[in-house]
């Protein structure tokens, strides 16, 4: 038992902090720190800045740009990025399809896609969920039928986050309708400029355009864009969704949001009730951060720590709770959600209601919190 970081880890953290706070565009960082939306170009620029320094995909194999860091170092990298307001490398690229191609892909696929994926030259979208396949993902119905060397894809994906920016989409498709539902799924990579791919925006309760429907009508996909084995898609999906031990909970970003809330609250911080809510949230975030550290620091070789399953569940609850408090502090000023920049209301207060509403998604995506409870009760508690 040892609380302090080793000198090497402390030096590592200092190096990360230094890079993130001095080498990433201040305009981008301020946009994040103030809770405003980033443009596509800003997200790309930030990731390229990181990638040039070898900091975009440290968890990938070394030959494809990874770093041989410990889990603790990856945790520190992730936390320092959030603290500095540096956008996290695009999850679809860095955390999802990149590791999948590196693990399951052919040499040709690796060479074709991995460098461009790390550098965000290709913007990937995720094509998993469907209208009738949410938490029950294996029920998906989008089909791919072999025709010569190609696959012909028909169906609909939904909740495709930032699909409007997507160059390519990695999809789970049904390639064998005759077998048990998990056994007939494959992963296909699809160029979104292919004829028959249509992206339709979904307007959300916060007024934003963040997610989309993606429709596939007789979309022809070359056979060499199948990832892994035919009908092996479910294994890949489980790898992709269960791959992560670091960064499961948005600790750093939520801490930063709470710190910003305190700074914005002004005289409201004199209200004992507000102080108590802030103090309780700070304490809950500390417990979450400590649990994240316990998970990454307990050993660097073994299987995931069982407590990792609580991180997503609790992390999203706290992310939501901070946004609720910000909304309550904004009060009537929050009504000016879609007022222009000449509004006399402060920006953080105007953004508070859309942010609160938007973050309701956090306990739904990435395996809803009910799915997390199911995982805990079944696999950890044996119920």
């Amino acid at each position: 038992m040892q609380l302090e970081l080793s000198p090497a880890d402390a030096e590592f953290r200092g190096r990360m902090r230094d890079f993130f706070t001095t080498k990433v565009s201040p305009e981008i960082r301020n946009t994040v720190l103030e809770g405003r939306h980033l443009t596509r170009d800003q997200i790309v620029e930030a990731q390229r800045t990181l990638n040039a320094e070898g900091l975009a995909v440290p968890h990938w194999p070394v030959e494809w740009g990874g770093q041989e860091w410990t889990d603790l170092q990856r945790h520190l990298w992730h936390e320092e990025m959030q603290r500095a307001g540096v956008p996290i490398p695009l999850a679809f690229n860095a955390s999802m399809i990149g590791p999948v191609i590196a693990h399951f892909g052919t040499q040709e696929q690796k060479e074709r896609f991995l460098p461009a994926t790390a550098n965000l030259d290709i913007w990937w979208s995720q094509g998993f969920s469907e209208p009738d396949a949410g938490s029950d993902l294996a029920s998906l119905r989008t089909t791919a039928v072999r025709d010569g060397d190609d696959w012909v894809v028909n169906g609909q994906k939904t909740w495709t986050t930032l699909g409007q920016y997507g160059d390519w989409i990695f999809t789970l498709v049904r390639t064998d309708p005759e077998v048990k539902k998990q056994a007939g799924i494959s992963m296909l990579l699809i160029d979104m400029t292919t004829p028959g791919v249509e992206v339709r925006p979904i307007e959300l309760i916060d007024g934003g355009h963040e997610v989309n429907e993606v429709w596939f009508t007789d979309v022809r996909v070359p056979g060499d864009l199948l990832v892994g084995e035919l009908n092996g898609g479910w294994t890949i999906a489980k790898f992709l969704l269960g791959n992560e031990r670091v960064g499961v909970a948005p600790v750093g970003a939520t801490k930063r949001a709470l710190a910003a809330l305190k700074a914005n609250a002004g005289p409201l911080m004199d209200d004992p009730l507000v102080r108590a809510r802030v103090a309780e949230l700070e304490n809950d975030l500390l417990a979450l951060e400590l649990t994240a550290l316990r998970v990454v620091a307990h050993s660097s070789d073994g299987a995931p720590h069982p407590a990792s399953s609580v991180l997503k569940l609790r992390g999203t609850e706290l992310q939501q709770a901070v946004s609720e408090l910000a909304l309550d502090l904004a009060g009537p000023a929050s009504l000016a959600a879609r007022a222009g920049d000449d509004s006399p209301q402060e920006g953080w207060a105007r953004r508070s209601a859309p942010t609160y509403l938007n973050l309701r998604k956090a306990s739904i995506y990435g395996g809803s919190n009910e799915i997390q409870r199911q995982i805990i009760s079944r696999t950890i508690l044996g119920l």
Partner: protein, 378 residues
């Protein structure tokens, strides 16, 4: 940074667990022990002394072993696991801690030597009726005449006080401040009673009771007293963690074995999801307990005081959640004294109200909330 126990610490846990299992193999044994005075197992206390557990916090020159806070925390977790009624936290950690912090070399060698050997039991008297975690018995006043000190007033609750040979009393000094005094139990009027978890506490009345000042007579010892209270809170959180771990385990065992409507209870998602939430509370509390225990080694009073508040709040919340749900998910049997799970909730309740409840810790944290931008774990 390392959140794992080393081999020696694991061995200590196994040894303590093994010894406790000889006395409290099942809840019936605990029930029998607390049914009669002194409310704990003196033979077990002696074996804990032989194993070096009673002297764990103290230096070798005082008859102890000088182990670290993590080791003491392990002992407290194991005591909590079986709801052991032995007054380890009250006598060794709190009262012994006060002697170690403020006593002279002779006082420490005498009192801590005998405490470590299991020859005496100490109890800390630091609360008067109406007191709320101020770490001083406001109702007890010290007087000095011709170099002889006496105490007057009432201390209550005094945890473990009913069977203590000596009381370690925090009392108001004549010229202001708070001193620490040792009083022989026979020099005070000690009325024992049974606390809500069936362990023993006492009401102690001092009437011109002869008292020996610990350390330099007449000196205000408030900072040291507060620090020892904070250490006791952190180690009490370790004890509560042990209780909660047992409760979560007992609840999951029960859900997989108890049948209603012809099926085991884990068939019902309304119940398994609540068990999952108990596990979440447990793991968050566990992380905070480990962290708070590790802050002690740094030796910074303010850091330890902050950690005591933070772990106090986290564990109080978890104890309410887990303790209440453990009973509810068990149903009627959770209400019975013959079943450990509900008695565990009683024990958590006593620990919380003895050491400081969530409201107390939250009030203190809220008072400091604008003094920092954010709270960092490392």
């Amino acid at each position: 940074m390392d959140f794992t126990y080393d081999d020696e610490q694991q061995a200590l846990r196994e040894a303590v667990r093994g010894l406790l299992a000889t006395a409290y193999a099942d809840h019936d044994a605990r029930r029998r022990t607390v049914a009669d005075d002194p409310g704990f197992d003196r033979a077990l206390w002696g074996r804990l002394a032989e194993m070096g557990v009673l002297g764990l916090p103290f230096s070798e020159t005082d008859g102890g072993v000088r182990a670290g806070p993590v080791e003491i925390g392990i002992v407290c977790q194991e005591l909590g696991r079986v709801l052991a009624p032995e007054p380890y936290l009250a006598s060794v950690v709190h009262a012994g801690g006060l002697v170690a912090a403020v006593g002279t070399a002779e006082q420490k060698a005498d009192l801590l030597g005998r405490l470590s050997a299991g020859e005496i039991v100490l109890a800390a008297a630091d609360t008067s009726p109406g007191g709320r975690w101020a770490s001083r018995a406001d109702g007890v006043r010290a007087s000095v005449s011709d170099g002889s000190w006496t105490l007057d007033g009432v201390a209550d609750p005094v945890m473990g006080g009913a069977s203590a040979d000596h009381l370690v009393v925090t009392a108001a000094l004549p010229d202001g401040g708070t001193g620490v005094f040792v009083v022989d139990a026979f020099a005070a009027s000690v009325t024992g009673y049974v606390a809500a978890d069936l362990t023993r506490a006492a009401s102690v009345r001092f009437e011109a009771s002869a008292a020996t000042p610990l350390g330099e007579p007449g000196r205000d010892l408030s900072p040291s007293i507060a620090t020892i209270s904070d250490l006791t809170r952190i180690l009490g959180a370790n004890q509560a963690l042990g209780v909660m771990q047992s409760q979560v385990r007992a609840t999951t065992d029960y859900l997989t074995s108890r049948k209603q409507f012809g099926v085991t209870l884990n068939t019902f998602q309304a119940l398994t999801f609540r068990a999952a939430d108990m596990y979440v509370s447990l793991e968050l509390a566990h992380s905070t307990v480990d962290w708070a225990t590790m802050t002690i080694a740094g030796g910074d009073r303010e850091v330890v005081a902050d950690a005591a508040d933070r772990v106090g709040l986290q564990v109080s919340r978890a104890a309410r959640h887990i303790g209440e749900e453990a009973i509810q998910l068990h149903g009627g049997i959770g209400m019975t004294a013959e079943y450990a799970v509900g008695v565990g909730t009683a024990h958590l309740t006593v620990l919380e109200q003895w050491l400081g409840n969530a409201g107390h810790h939250l009030t203190r944290l809220a008072a400091r909330v604008t003094e920092h931008e954010m709270v960092d774990a490392v």
